[in-house]
Symmetry: C2
Subunit: 885 residues, 2 copies
């Protein structure tokens, strides 16, 4: 007989009852809840390929095998079983089943040591709760009076914090057991509904709803309750947890979302309970594929034998990827207590447990060794390897929408979460929904097309993308789509297009041929703005002004074949949008009224074209061009290339759109083809589908990449007008544009782009696109942005679309690309779960077109707080320096 | 009562009995069978998300709705039902069920016109056949005596060509019906087994096996029987076909392969019969995802209502992608004849039929308009658009392993197949198995990672790939992996690496700084071989000798910053491998013995290093370098770049490996870093994992791309030695290599590469890799290659690894890159189902490392035949020209 035990044993008592549901109308309160879990013990999710294939038998079998495995006599083992969703309660209670079967098994076959077994039910719908209280379910109890007194208050939102539990102590066979620490099996039902139907129906019917994030939040709390038990990865862990899902992998949870989607943010390793019946091969394979399509790792497949040797085709499919285990047939007699079956199945469950533990140990080991290995074999771009100790390497386990799941080690290992605020170098668009949609499309496209040849051929994804582009960002001017792989190649192609068009349009091709005979060569220049960046291949480099990227150290061939103009910029300085003229222009007689703006919208107003500033810009540009064209008879400006509105890599500088518009006009007047490099600015990055739209003018050629595929795989396009295209037609193949890459217009990239562009623009749920799909709603809280710009350590701010750039006030070596001025700030922000990268003393936040403004607010608040802290440190250190002086 | 009808009605009679199984030991005879199907009428595959969810009810319902839909009174409709795999026969016979339900339905509710309904069983296992013959199944008959006499002969390989059929004529209600053409419902079981178990078990047990390709071949024949009925896409088609699968989507077929894999080469549009029961949501979603992961298009989901409103979550999942239809509950009473149910279900089936027809009509319409649209919006690389009429555009519907499925229109529309012999521009590796494996991995990786930031981070796919590369192609020399997007960017990075290493190693960095003060610039050159190709971005272009690709027309900035040597080449000329020395070398005193080789192996023998030819090469190279280095004090050769063994785009020229080895040695002696551009040659392209292995020497830097991802998405790497890496370390970030692309080391590319590289090298089934994973087996039939080289129209042949290049004898404008000399030949080959692209007068066949030599033989034979025909045409036209002269 169990001796008297405290009402709530050990650590459980103190914690379990803190966990209860937040009211349903706070459903979004966990929106920013960080999904984290400890890696100190193995946690697995048990999935099933069908209903009624025996998930709970597997859980119970595991509890038995885990506790009965040989281990050091002093170890205090703990097996945690979690059932987040239970319908048909209390008649059906999987946690109770596990609790009971475990207890029965060891009542017959005592372990050497004693075990506390317990079963808790945390939250129940009113009907489920009434059924428990009314019918007096045998063996269970409700928490003490004090706790119980709060019941009525908690009968809100369809839920009752039930506090129902049952427990027993199983005495050990070893007489010296009283000396031994007590092991535990803790079974918990997190949410229970009365009706034996799908959870989404039960939740609706019983008025007891739980949102996906609430569910995850409670699950997270349950997982963290036990983190103090650390695991020495070389040994058998003392603890193990299984989370049992309800129904099949894609059965709806209480919110109606599929369970495989709900649990995705944790991405816990999976055990798939297969189906040994007729049709079970198909069900098992398909369930496995649904898990893979959501990024889960399946550690093992286990199923009950029905005499159909389903394991043969399954083993052939899984090859060495996933072990397949077969359980003996379960007695059909419902009165059988299954003790014999559990006994017979023990070798299989022991194998399964071994596989699970060894997988866990390997995973943790690998995660720990990855930083060193990375430092040994990678050559990261833009990275001074000498300055990266392995402790600073971030191990990314996965991404879910806008966030990374990262591995952290401090006192113990865990998986944490960081918001990808560098938007993985400006490519990212997907939220968690779009990511899974894209995953399915990627699988489909790889299976349907793989990659097929593009020239002279047509296939749906490439055609659809070309059509989409010409209807959207190319509308009104572009007629052709040229595919390549990245922004840099798209720019190289754009330059080739522009030069040919220029030479044809100005009848210079034949001139060149004559010139060539004389041994002289025409010096074609590209007109560009200082501070712009167009990529790292030589042709793209040549179109940008000398900088760190282009120095002799980087590419001795760089000559700077451009004519580079200094542009006027616009930023928010101390709460006001101001125009900042380059040095050369400062001698101009610019009216004060033009030097600041009442709002950001004012900057983009087309009526500025009629201002005297427009005239000043125009004559200034004309003069500069005149000087250039006169200086050398051989020099010609064959193309203009600009990043419209915002220069990205050059430090997130917003260029006065009026200036760019005038510049484009001046070039068009001179038959100089205009290239817009929208690699960074395209597809809602700045709040409009293209930055050209914001400039209110059209280029002859335009480059897009990055966000185009939703941020999933490389693809770039160069759009050209009909006039540009015509410069390449003729009788000879040698007139054609002879530039290509192997994966030109590759199907997967095109498919990802088609899906993403439509999703960004039209997807019903993307309420962030407003005004007939023309504007992205404001993502960065206006007031907070203003506050940040007012902070003394902040020089300027540009918040526009998905971008919020903050230049920290810095001088000397603290300013510029190579500066590490912001590193302490960014380090603190990573602790806050925000992953940012600096451009020297410019830091920026970037999200996707689908990101919720609530998330942006949350992130921006943290940034503001850390900037403030940073400022205080700076003033302290400045004061102490002053003291030294 | 049906009036007397011929034993086998209409066209069926003449054809059906031609179709019978080929013996199982000819299982590979259909390896090259072209998978084609007509697009003159809708053909759908009916899949189920589970067993017993009512596929056959859906088929029967469709037969009724198709026949009963209003249409022109003169139309002669035909509904074809095919059941390729039937177990439990004759007790279970789905084709019989459809036949009977259709007949019963219209016996009660006659149509205006008469209908012949029939049910055929083509092939039965001996036990299934015995059961039919022994038990005398009611209503069926066996073909006439003459046909029946052959029975015993056909009791081979476990099969019997059963020739069992039943039929009836259903008289029309319209008295004038005798004037009308007779409509038909033809039901056919293709293969039947006795046992009611999974087909793979039945096939094994009953000794009646049918290979996947045999199954497809028979299915194809059944589909083509009816192609004479053409469809005017504007109208309701007169014919429709459904193919009903067995069990769930991934249930094994008779060979043990999953049915969703077996039918993949056809990739017919799918109707998914969902599951309305508890757990059915999950089963339906997972089955759908398994179909998508194999590239199928699902046109509609239909399922039986079980009162669980499963359609709500399903509709939410499918959104507007796929219509979801709900059928009334099927009476549980087994004695119910279902006539009332069919009656009630008719509106649903009519909707389903409408959806299927409209989808078919749209698909065909889109396929037809794609060439024109492509000509309107695409800008293909390397393509003179003026020379491509829309008739020449290939519409690629999908790819399956090494072949494209293409849309063809002549008298009618159909989907045909072409072997991708340009291996989609040298990227392709996957066979159909690897393609589906990659599809799953792409879905998984997109779901797990999407894309995550690379610099300073680590994630499994990138790390695993880097480790794999350093253990394989980088083994023994490389220590670092730099990621980029394509061969061209990989080369730009390689050049930057080499230059820095050169400058550091030769203490020239500080020299340069001084020089720069004087306003002078060091002129760093790259040493390269004439005819090589390294990509189309400016930096890569600069490293190649002037050619069509690099002219002023293409990129006015090209200067040719290389020093270009003419290399000696090797090819098979008229049956013998011969060395061809460049003009400059022809003055050298080269022994005749060195000018030809007894075998291809001899060319690669390392003992050639000791020959006098090696000495000649060495001194020749030394002299050339001396001249170059002396000519200008500012010029320095800062890097060597070569395509080892074979120059690809330059015309598939094999360079004497001895020469390249000596060249590498000479450069290493002079501290000139050596770059191998293995973008084309890497990963088994030439029969070894790297071409460096064939050269028996190691570079300092190496570039890989193309085949690396298995030919699915862009990814490139530049490998560098430790010495190269060290040239970039230091205290300042500005010393780091500041070159990067947004998708650096993107997870999907890395994952595809990890899977592909392992698959190519180790996958058990890839028996094409031999000798401890070091050599690819010979793919091109040696004798046939020799024959081709002997043909008078052939100048030379290079067959090596996956490449078989054939240079046609041509002169003047018929030779070279812009030549269209080979176009008539290639046009004929496309008719033969071989898709090739020329490099001027050089044509080539390319396959993947997993391609079977049998397929290669088959293709090469066709090429030989067409070359012969081409030769005859040329001699005829030459003769006629002679006549004119």
């Amino acid at each position: 007989m169990p001796r008297p035990i405290p009402l709530f044993p050990g650590s459980i008592r103190r914690r379990v009852f803190k966990l209860h549901l937040h009211p349903a109308n706070h459903r979004h309160s966990f929106l920013h809840s960080v999904v984290e879990y400890p890696l100190t013990y193995p946690i697995y999710t048990i999935w099933a390929s069908n209903t009624s294939v025996g998930k709970t038998l597997v859980s119970a079998g595991l509890s038995i095998s885990f506790l009965s495995a040989k281990s050091s006599p002093v170890s205090q083992k703990k097996f945690v079983y979690l059932k987040p969703i239970q319908t048909g309660f209390p008649d059906d209670s999987d946690s109770r089943f596990v609790y009971r079967k475990f207890s029965e098994f060891f009542a017959h076959k005592p372990l050497p040591f004693s075990v506390f077994a317990s079963n808790y039910v945390l939250n129940a719908s009113i009907p489920a709760s009434d059924a428990v209280l009314g019918n007096g379910v045998v063996g269970g109890r409700i928490g003490n009076e004090t706790l119980g007194a709060g019941l009525d208050k908690e009968r809100n939102f369809g839920w009752k914090n039930l506090r129902w539990y049952e427990e027993r102590k199983l005495l050990g066979s070893d007489s010296s057991e009283s000396e031994l620490p007590v092991s535990e099996v803790v079974c918990t039902t997190m949410h229970a509904w009365r009706e034996a139907v799908s959870p989404h129906l039960a939740a609706e019917k019983e008025g007891a709803i739980v949102g996906d994030s609430e569910l995850l939040h409670l699950l997270k709390s349950c997982l963290w309750m036990n983190k103090e038990r650390t695991c020495n990865s070389a040994e058998e862990p003392e603890m193990m947890c299984v989370i049992e899902t309800a129904g099949g992998v894609a059965s709806p949870g209480p919110s109606g979302s599929f369970q495989c989607d709900i649990y995705r943010p944790f991405r816990l390793p999976a055990i798939l309970v297969g189906d040994g019946r007729l049709g079970g091969i198909s069900a098992t394979i398909s369930a496995y594929e649904s898990l893979k399509l959501r990024g889960y790792d399946v550690t093992a497949v286990i199923f009950e034998d029905h005499g159909l040797v389903n394991e043969v085709p399954l083993l052939s499919y899984f090859r060495n990827r996933v072990p397949v285990l077969v359980l003996p047939s379960v007695p059909k007699d419902m009165s059988d207590d299954l003790m014999t079956w559990f006994d017979e199945s023990q070798p299989i469950f022991l194998s399964l447990k071994e596989i699970m533990i060894s997988d866990f140990v390997q995973r943790t080991k690998r995660l720990r060794e990855m930083p060193k290995k990375a430092c040994d074999v990678f050559w990261w771009p833009f990275t001074q390897h000498k300055s990266i100790p392995k402790e600073d390497v971030t191990v990314i386990d996965s991404r879910c929408g806008e966030s990374f799941a990262i591995h952290k080690v401090q006192d113990f290992d865990w998986i944490s979460q960081q918001f990808d605020a560098c938007a993985s170098w400006w490519t990212q668009g997907p939220d968690p929904h779009l990511q899974l949609e894209l995953a399915r499309d990627m699988g489909y496209t790889a299976a349907r097309y793989g990659h097929v040849l593009f020239p002279e051929n047509v296939y749906e994804p490439a055609l659809k993308l070309a059509e989409l582009l010409l209807e959207s960002v190319g509308k009104g001017w572009a007629s052709r789509v040229y595919f390549s792989d990245n922004g840099s190649t798209a720019v190289e192609i754009a330059l080739k297009m522009a030069f040919r068009r220029f030479l044809t349009d100005n009848n210079l091709l034949s001139c060149h041929e004559r010139a060539n005979v004389d041994g002289r060569c025409m010096d074609l220049k590209v007109l560009a703005l200082r501070g712009s960046y167009h990529g790292d291949t030589l042709g793209a480099m040549e179109a940008q002004a000398p900088s760190h990227y282009t120095g002799f150290l980087q590419q001795p061939w760089y000559g700077g074949r451009g004519v580079f103009l200094d542009p006027p910029t616009v930023s928010m300085y101390s709460g006001t949008w101001k125009l900042c003229l380059p040095e050369k222009m400062q001698i101009l007689n610019v009216d004060q009224e033009f030097l600041s703006f009442s709002s950001r919208e004012e900057i983009f107003k087309i009526n500025r074209d009629g201002s005297s500033l427009a005239g000043l810009y125009s004559s200034f540009i004309s003069e500069e061009l005149l000087v250039l064209l006169d200086s050398n008879g051989l020099s010609q400006v064959g193309a203009l290339i600009i990043e419209p509105v915002v220069q990205g890599a050059g430090g997130m500088q917003m260029i006065d759109p009026l200036y760019q518009r005038i510049l484009v006009r001046e070039c068009k007047d001179r038959k100089i083809p205009v290239i817009f490099d929208e690699v960074f600015t395209g597809f809602w990055r700045l709040g409009r589908e293209s930055a050209a739209e914001m400039l209110c003018c059209q280029p002859d050629i335009s480059c897009f990449a990055k966000l185009m595929t939703g941020g999933i795989i490389p693809l770039a396009v160069t759009l050209g007008s009909d006039a540009v295209f015509e410069a390449f037609t003729g009788d000879s193949k040698l007139l054609a544009l002879l530039h290509g890459h192997s994966y030109s217009g590759h199907a997967m990239g095109c498919m990802a782009a088609v899906k993403s562009l439509k999703w960004f623009k039209y997807y019903n749920a993307n309420m962030k696109i407003i005004c007939e799909s023309r504007f992205l709603q404001e993502l960065w809280d206006t007031e907070l942005v203003l506050q940040i710009s007012l902070h003394p350590v902040v020089h300027r701010v540009v918040a526009l679309g998905t971008l919020c750039a903050i230049e920290l006030l810095a001088e000397g070596c603290n300013a510029g690309y190579a500066s590490t001025y912001a590193s302490s700030l960014l380090k603190r922000l990573r602790e806050d779960g925000i992953y940012m990268r600096p451009l020297g003393n410019v830091i920026y936040l970037m999200c996707g077109p689908c990101t919720s403004p609530l998330i942006c607010l949350h992130i921006l608040k943290k940034v503001y707080a850390r900037i403030h802290e940073f400022g205080q440190q700076k003033s302290t250190s400045a004061a102490s320096e002053l003291g030294i002086c």
